[in-house]
Point group: C2
Chain length 238, copies 2
């Protein structure tokens, strides 16, 4: 992301030299495996490890004078407080290895322990993306919940629909226009206003019929829970 936006990457540190080598080669950097080989003159160190390991890595960077950031949606800024200058650089997007992402439109949420470093991170992020916001740790953690709902949960439903279509020999691709339109509408207006379907109409007969058609018990449970939730939402509105 930073490399593709024109920044120079000096070093890639990983516990595994193979992994460090592979990444380093892609971004024309030096591969290292030991913290003592870190170049102390670099402006920024990005900690890109699983949430549980962020603090441990930060503890190894106590002597370093540059800015240290992590890239997690959930871990608080304070997890880095053992270093001198610290911040968060969180790209809010779903990344999978096989799909290229448009960084320009990817929101980046930044935060730092001083206003100067916050401004610095904000400027840096603006060189990568047109969509940058300064957000506190508390708000970032809460926003991550919304991201889980908007991506993980909707994708799981789409995966379930995909499997259901395959099991019933139905063309999943016929749903493509519907899936695209659902997303387009949800971001262009309040999705509460876009709710349609049997549950929104409280059409219990169709709901019952659909539950008979679905054989996968897990999907049946999801269908029931979501239909009930839609019915409740609509009753509350009345």
């Amino acid at each position: 992301m930073l490399y593709k936006s024109g920044f120079t990457i000096k070093q890639i540190l990983s516990r595994h030299i193979n992994h460090a080598d592979r990444v380093a080669e892609r971004v024309q950097a030096q591969a290292i495996v030991d913290f003592k080989d870190l170049d102390n003159s670099v402006d920024l160190i990005c900690i890109c490890v699983t949430d549980a390991n962020i603090m441990q890595v930060a503890n190894q960077l106590q002597g370093y004078n540059g800015l240290v950031v992590h890239t997690s949606g959930t871990v608080a800024l304070s997890a880095l407080q053992t270093v001198n200058r610290f911040g968060v650089f969180y790209p809010l997007q779903t990344f999978t290895k096989t799909v290229a992402v448009d960084f320009k439109s990817t929101p980046i949420l930044v935060e730092a322990n001083t206003p100067e470093d916050e401004a610095l991170l904000e400027n840096l992020a603006r060189r990568v993306s047109t969509n940058v916001e300064v957000l506190s740790s508390a708000k970032r953690e809460k926003l991550h919940v919304a991201a889980v709902i908007a991506n993980n949960f909707t994708n799981h439903l789409l995966a379930k629909a995909y499997n259901y279509c395959h099991e019933n020999n139905l063309p999943f691709h016929v749903l493509n226009a519907l899936i695209t339109e659902t997303a387009r509408k949800a971001i262009s207006e309040n999705p509460n206003q876009n709710q349609t379907g049997p549950a929104a109409r409280k059409d219990l007969q169709t709901i019952q019929r659909h539950l008979e058609i679905i054989t996968d018990l897990e999907l049946k449970k999801l269908y029931q829970t979501l239909s009930e939730s839609i019915i409740k939402s609509h009753e509350t509105k009345l």
Copy 2:
């Protein structure tokens, strides 16, 4: 849809003259309220009423010699069997009054009681959309279940995420790129492969933390049910 694709609409029949007038004016047709005023020389009559009323309307059209279609995703072709020539013309898309839809990419599923009328409907549909399939009533009903999952349920989750953001004073629009990307990925590859997030990683600590953050009991229940379902799906795969 048909009017915008260049077809001539002769009459709009509705129980309420105001409604008939309003629609008829938009498509340059005659507004009528009585079945006995129907022009028997038209080629096609579209029944666009709620599912429960389709059969009742069809019963009024027994003397008519042209093709009669309904536009429902769930009602079987046989609901129209009291008329001479009958079929289904089902556009699989989510329609709300305020948002214009691109008909060209909207899939249209057709079916008729004779191969001749099936071919006729298929040709007619191809003048409206580039995405036409002949599908049996049984398959159309099953596909409607998938459409409910892919649209109604995902939209409900997005509505819940929207409300959650508003309640917590978080910028929902920051999720726009994520929502768009989720849809884009789901239609370009098997969405089972795109699953990320705490549940897919079985990160019970983050799930627990998110459940603490969520105050809306309904959303808490959805979060729990969907996370459990994702965990189960991933365990099955191992």
